[in-house]
Symmetry: C2
Subunit: 308 residues, 2 copies
Amino acid sequence: MSKIFVLGHKNPDTDSICSAISYAYLKNEIGMDVEPIRLGELNNETLYALEQFNFEHPRLVTRVSAEASQVILVDHNERQQSAEDINEVQVIEVIDHHRIANFETVDPLYFRAEPVGCTATILLKLFKENGVAVPANIAGLMLSAIISDSLLFKSPTCTQQDIHAARELAELAGVDAAEYGLAMLKAGADLSNKTLEDLMSLDSKEFEAGAHHFEVAQVNAIGVDDVISRQKELEVLMEQVITKKGLSLFLFVVTDILNNDSVGIVLGEQAGIVESAFKSSVVDNRVLLPGVVSRKKQIVPVITEALS
Amino acid sequence: MSKIFVLGHKNPDTDSICSAISYAYLKNEIGMDVEPIRLGELNNETLYALEQFNFEHPRLVTRVSAEASQVILVDHNERQQSAEDINEVQVIEVIDHHRIANFETVDPLYFRAEPVGCTATILLKLFKENGVAVPANIAGLMLSAIISDSLLFKSPTCTQQDIHAARELAELAGVDAAEYGLAMLKAGADLSNKTLEDLMSLDSKEFEAGAHHFEVAQVNAIGVDDVISRQKELEVLMEQVITKKGLSLFLFVVTDILNNDSVGIVLGEQAGIVESAFKSSVVDNRVLLPGVVSRKKQIVPVITEALS
């Protein structure tokens, strides 16, 4: 059997990277030959988690079909979020916690999506179902993924299952979830070494709704002012992306991880829908999104509905 | 919470009906208010299984949105195989063992597809994961589903997991799987009370491949001659369906459950692809398909590939 890649989405976040490594570990334990890879640069938060638990960086692979004929997707299923050449390989498994869209196979496969806050929460079940113990360092990565996706259990996407899984994983990893989690989130919210181009691609995802194509980027920060002070320069880059990808709308969201509010910068011919969709005024291309921290639960469905 | 329906595909087979009833039982046991329904007439095989294990017929519902706002799909995910008004309700769960296609949601959901031979094999895992015991009569239904989908373990879709699940379920149900299974398959292969229209819709599914829309009907029989002797009349009905649905191809498959071979009748503007796709001559619109018993594994991928 040739090599099988496990990969998270483009512009990988901590769940995409940590779940790819963790699931590859599980697969290798049960006898498959699997390598976790990444489709893009690691963010500061993920770098922190990998360093804390002594993991090497997964290899950056841009064309998966050059080396593998089969892949396992974690933390995503929509093709436009996956490898550029995803249509040239066979997807044999998907482990995900997002909506399902733009995904189609010729053959039956193992597809496990659950409406929980993090892929790693599902992975913990799979370790148990397969009778494989979670080593301390893998538990640390999976805990990092849950803390990241749930913003330390404060996001509305966070479920009781995520909290229970995190508790169990923290014990296995031998760390205090709250203390470790805040340190990790702060490392991720440190944007001081980031260029504007970095901010744009750090965690940006494309979506389709009806005939429209839109993109939502999100960065975590401690206070939103640093990023917002660079709004005009950001808008130039956003317009370039809109033109290049033919987007109807681009929303750039800055989330303050300390008070759990967000501010969005919105551009594109459909930008006008944001006011009624979020019931919040757009002033100078900027919209306040109080209490909004989850792209998946509080942003994408709202825009999808408004554009459809 | 309003009522939630659990439903299998149109032209329901034994897995679609038995898995809907069994999963509804599990859901009700864990506190949801769920009703199994059916989208079409019950076939003789399913009637036999329901009678053997003392179940009433699930209610026939044609417009699900008239009564429910949420549904759970079992044994299918492609929208054209589901309720006509499936787009008007929210799909909150899918338990399936088919390829994934033409399925999209706005929100995350529980989607559990596994490449096994039968939905009921996955359901047995879900009973265990939820800590719910399988009562004898439900075990009988789930066993019936596995025997039906695997043609008594002879189909290439049948996996070791299906065989183990069936063994466990037969014990719980207190029946001999081989003896009960053959009696059930024979009841299903008794086509004596069926009109040609019945045969056409007994177990027929639509698929999409590229720009093409095709349909594959399958009937089980003891010997294929009875059905083939009515080929000319069948073709008239098939042409009507092709025109009505705009199909590129309609393949009507008769499977002999005793020797596990099939014969297909093929019509439609793309009928010509069948010869090279199956490497078998089409004579008088008829093609021999030796060893072919599984629409899912041996027919649909082959046609999809040829049409794409």
